[in-house]
């Protein structure tokens, strides 16, 4: 007997593996990122919840603020308004997106790539921008305001049009994905059984995308209920929850009531989030590895119909953008329609001038760099870490949570947490760092999911092999994981950059006089009545985001061609 030391009995305690230096290092890193999420997310949310139960002097008043809230008809009315906007926007957006997605996946019309690219444009602009375009189109001196037949664009009509513009790409991506996983064999079977095209549509197509549609509906609902940009610009007297938070905090300095409204806004967002998670799981289960991709067959009449439809949707999107560009260039609408760059003299306006624009670029770059490192490392550690057990579950939950937290709520929570004099992290308040932290946290979930998906596609045994070869985990991470996941890493950094450029909601509470941002400048200039410069700044954001997207495209192509030799099998 040479095996000695360990006393064996079948009822003894469970053996535990001795930790390797890798295990210890990984645990430390998980802890660091976990602490980040707790400090940047859990603590501020807690601070906000507790604030909603305090009076303005900091005394505990229980649910008194909530009672006051529900006894103020003007505030409660906003709940109804928000839900109304949510439902109307959801039905319109999902319908438009479904037909467009159908055209893009199931027809053989020409120009699909162009239409898809155009439909993605709204992602590249702040949600304030469509509102500005609508003012120019349908406002009191609008270009075509007679089309409204006397209705006022300021209010629900304007908000809904702006939200449809803003939410369309999000719904489109989800529905396109759902439509493209269709199995051609199902359609062949249905045709062989002599089902008509209408019957096939209702028995094969719709059931196949039902989870995609539900998921899209919830995403659109959440976005439109929590969005702040559109109602701020074009809402007029039509109050919604998001604008109420802003008014309570910025207008009336009533932080406690702001916290109460935030908690109210968390409810629909949280519900939508939970339902979406459940549905997403079912959607994945529908994916069959052996599905044969569907090749649409040509049908002249149908293809032309879809083409006309896609052109109409594209005109809507490009039109909104074009009007903004027009507004930015016209010297003094509607009195002097000559074009020029006078509206780009941001330094002459409120909102921080050109410095805001460069601050935004700086902030977006930091967010992209640090956010990508943080998110990807975090996802890697959670996916590949050994024996992390309950830590992994907690981490996963924390990583999913930001999706359910509206930006405004997060921003307000940051005020409560970081501005508290007793907080040792107080020094972060009013710095560039807090803007970066809040933005990374705000957009954490989607980035995390992108990273997780890429990591799951890697061979689960890489780490085992590396351990057997006695290689430290970080070597495999840097030499194998990162190169293989480069496309996903690029996706994440671009996603973070673009969103950091366009976001208004979280940062609107957190910027300081020397860290003003372009998107906030759009808001403030619009507020001050400088609508044309606001449009000009909005277009600057668009051009920057679009430029970065094009750069991303070229980079991805470059990476693809450079790594083509070995990527053949990984791509599958």
């Amino acid at each position: 007997m040479t095996a000695k030391g360990v006393a064996i009995s079948t009822t003894g305690p469970m053996l535990r593996r001795k930790s390797s230096s890798d295990d210890r290092a990984m645990r430390l890193f998980v802890l660091v990122i976990g602490v980040y999420l707790i400090v940047a997310l859990a603590f501020p949310l807690y601070a906000m919840l507790s604030k909603s139960t305090l009076d303005s002097k900091g005394g505990f008043v229980g649910l008194e603020n909530y009672l006051a809230y529900f006894n103020t008809p003007s505030l409660v009315y906003s709940i109804q308004n928000s839900l109304f906007i949510g439902f109307v926007t959801t039905s319109i957006t999902v319908t438009i997106a479904f037909v467009l997605a159908y055209a893009l996946t199931r027809s053989r019309m020409p120009g699909k790539a162009v239409f898809k690219t155009v439909a993605m444009i709204p992602i590249l602009v702040p949600s304030l921008l469509p509102g500005i375009a609508l003012i120019y189109l349908f406002g009191r001196q609008g270009l075509i305001n007679e089309l409204l037949f006397g209705h006022d664009i300021y209010g629900p009509i304007g908000i809904v049009i702006a939200e449809v513009f803003f939410t369309l790409p999000h719904a489109l991506i989800i529905i396109i994905t759902a439509l493209s996983i269709a199995d051609a064999r199902l359609y062949e079977a249905a045709t062989a059984l002599r089902a008509g095209s209408a019957r096939i549509f209702f028995t094969v197509t719709l059931p196949g995308v039902r989870y995609g549609l539900i998921s899209a509906a919830f995403v659109v609902f959440t976005l439109s209920v929590t969005d702040f940009g559109a109602p701020k610009v074009i809402g007029g007297d039509f109050n919604v929850l998001a604008t109420d938070i802003y008014k309570q905090v910025i207008g009336q300095q009533n932080f406690e009531m702001g916290a109460v409204v935030s908690v109210v806004l968390l409810i629909p967002a949280g519900l939508a989030f939970v339902v979406d998670r459940i549905v997403q799981k079912k959607q994945i289960a529908l994916l069959s590895a052996r599905a044969v991709p569907l090749e649409p067959s040509p049908d002249k009449k149908f293809d032309n119909l879809m083409l006309v439809y896609s052109i109409v949707v594209s005109i809507f999107i490009v039109g909104i953008l074009g009007v903004c560009q027009f507004a930015a260039l016209v010297k003094f609408y509607p009195y002097n329609l000559s074009l020029g760059l006078s509206n780009y003299q941001f330094d002459l306006m409120d909102g921080g001038g050109w410095a805001s624009y460069f601050n935004s670029i700086e902030m977006a770059s930091y967010t992209a760099v640090f956010g990508t490192i943080l998110v990807f490392s975090g996802a890697y550690l959670v996916e590949k870490g050994q024996g992390l057990g309950p830590i992994r579950g907690t981490f996963q939950l924390l990583a999913m949570l930001p999706m359910a937290i509206p930006g405004l709520v997060l921003g307000l929570a940051y005020i409560f947490f970081f501005n508290s004099p007793s907080n040792p992290l107080n020094f972060l308040y009013h710095t560039m760092a807090i803007l970066v932290i809040s933005t990374i946290t705000h957009f954490y979930t989607v980035s995390h999911l992108t990273a997780t998906t890429a990591l799951k596609q890697m061979d689960a045994q890489f780490e085992s092999v590396a351990a057997s070869l006695k290689q430290p985990f970080y070597r495999t991470f840097l030499r194998v994981t990162v190169p293989v996941c480069t496309p996903a890493i690029l996706d994440i950094s671009i996603y973070l950059f673009v969103n950091a450029m366009t976001t208004v909601s979280a940062v609107v509470f957190l910027y300081s006089p020397h860290t003003t941002l372009a998107s906030v400048a759009v808001l403030n200039m619009d507020d001050a009545g400088d609508i044309a410069p606001a449009a000009a700044m909005g277009m600057m954001i668009f051009y920057t985001a679009a430029g970065v997207k094009i750069l991303h495209y070229l980079l991805s192509r470059g990476v693809e061609s450079r790594t083509q030799a070995w990527r053949v099998s990984v791509a599958k």
């Binding site: 095996a3 351990a467 194998v480 030799a565 990527r567």
Partner: protein, 358 residues
């Protein structure tokens, strides 16, 4: 025999309520090639992963080369591993993959490249060094994975279904190649497989597993010729089973008709299963010998399998159906065809007997 190289004692692995391994004890000797064989879910991979330290056992100990490695992490154990998926790093060339475990060991660069060259020669891939895994065939990838696992000259080589992803021809070829390599390097090797042919052709000893326990450990000959349990008998090769009851010593009763078998001191009246391999069933033309073990069978169907024919027979006497393998020539001589009658002998010494009430 000398001290075991790998000594596993009372190993148990639980996943929640489910027991994947139950009190496994096993010894593997230096230079030996051992196969863990069993159907999916039998616990063979779990056992391999416990030996590697990838999924640690709930209880029990493992000692390798005299040292207790029971709770060591994989990086502190001494083994090389090849997975079914090969897990080759897709972005590294063949030579970089093979060199992966060598580079950071402070060895000098030309030493590393010499070792890589040597290993690629060993697996016959010297001309593929600059290629990426995706540019190689499945069999070639397999060999790269093998070279990578052997690069650090580990004391123990673990192979987790290494041939399952390959097509039949390549698999048969690689079987011989891996076995030859293992013999030359004399590296102690454990291979997990569900393919009995693989186990029978490659292993020095086979560990047959089922439901988390070891059913039998033995050489391929022992496992095939004297399966220790009904499970092994059924799992390895093809086997005919006949239900019976022990009668007086040396006899069983099948449907009330006596049959000579070695009853191994079993008491009378116990329900048993008699087992005989198709190739051990003797067919001949009607020369009645009066033996208890001979009867008339009616040919139900013939299955042509190349070198031999598998005959399905209906035996009225024992109310059973069984299969017999005869050479193609023999089948002609006996004029076997559906409906034909033929004498069938089940030689007593070829019948194995399994108690049913265990």
């Amino acid at each position: 025999m000398s001290e075991a190289f790998l000594k596993i004692e009372n190993l148990t692995k639980n996943f929640g309520q489910f027991t994947a391994l139950r009190d496994i004890s096993l010894e593997v000797f230096e230079g030996e090639f051992v196969c863990f064989l069993g159907p999916s879910g039998c616990g063979k991979t779990t056992l391999l992963r416990a030996i590697a330290g990838l999924d640690i056992q709930s209880q029990g100990s493992i000692a390798q080369a005299g040292a207790d490695i029971s709770v060591l992490p994989p990086s502190e154990r001494d083994f090389g591993i090849v997975f079914q998926s090969y897990a080759l790093f897709p972005n590294l060339t063949v030579e970089k993959n093979v060199a992966y475990g060598l580079e950071s060991r402070r060895s000098r660069r030309n030493e590393v490249s010499r070792r890589v060259e040597e290993l690629l020669m060993l697996v016959d891939l010297s001309d593929q060094t600059k290629k990426y895994p995706a540019q190689l065939s499945g069999g070639q990838q397999q060999r790269v994975a093998l070279a990578r696992a052997l690069a650090t000259a580990p004391g123990l080589l673990l192979l987790d279904e290494p041939l399952s992803a390959l097509d039949a021809k390549v698999r048969a070829h690689l079987r011989m190649e891996i076995k030859g390599l293992q013999r030359r390097l004399a590296v102690t090797t454990i291979m997990v497989t569900h393919d009995q042919e693989e186990a029978l052709t490659m292993a020095d000893r086979i560990v047959v597993m089922n439901h988390g326990v070891i059913e039998q450990i033995g050489t391929p000959e022992e496992i095939y010729a004297s399966p220790a349990s009904e499970f092994v008998a059924e799992f390895i090769g093809t086997m005919n089973f006949i239900s019976a009851r022990t009668a007086s010593a040396g006899q069983c009763a099948c449907e009330g008709v006596p049959l000579d078998v070695d009853t191994e001191n079993m008491s009378e009246g116990r329900p048993v299963r008699l087992a005989i391999r198709p190739e051990d069933v003797e067919l001949h033309l009607g020369d009645e010998s009066g033996s208890n073990n001979e009867t008339l069978g009616v040919v139900e169907s013939l299955e042509y399998l190349g070198a031999f024919v598998r005959v399905t027979l209906n035996l009225e006497l024992w109310k059973t159906r069984l299969q017999a393998d005869v050479s193609t020539g023999e089948a002609h001589r006996l004029s076997l065809e559906p409906g034909a009658s033929v004498s069938v002998t089940l030689p007593a010494e070829k019948i194995r007997l399994y108690s049913l009430d265990s």
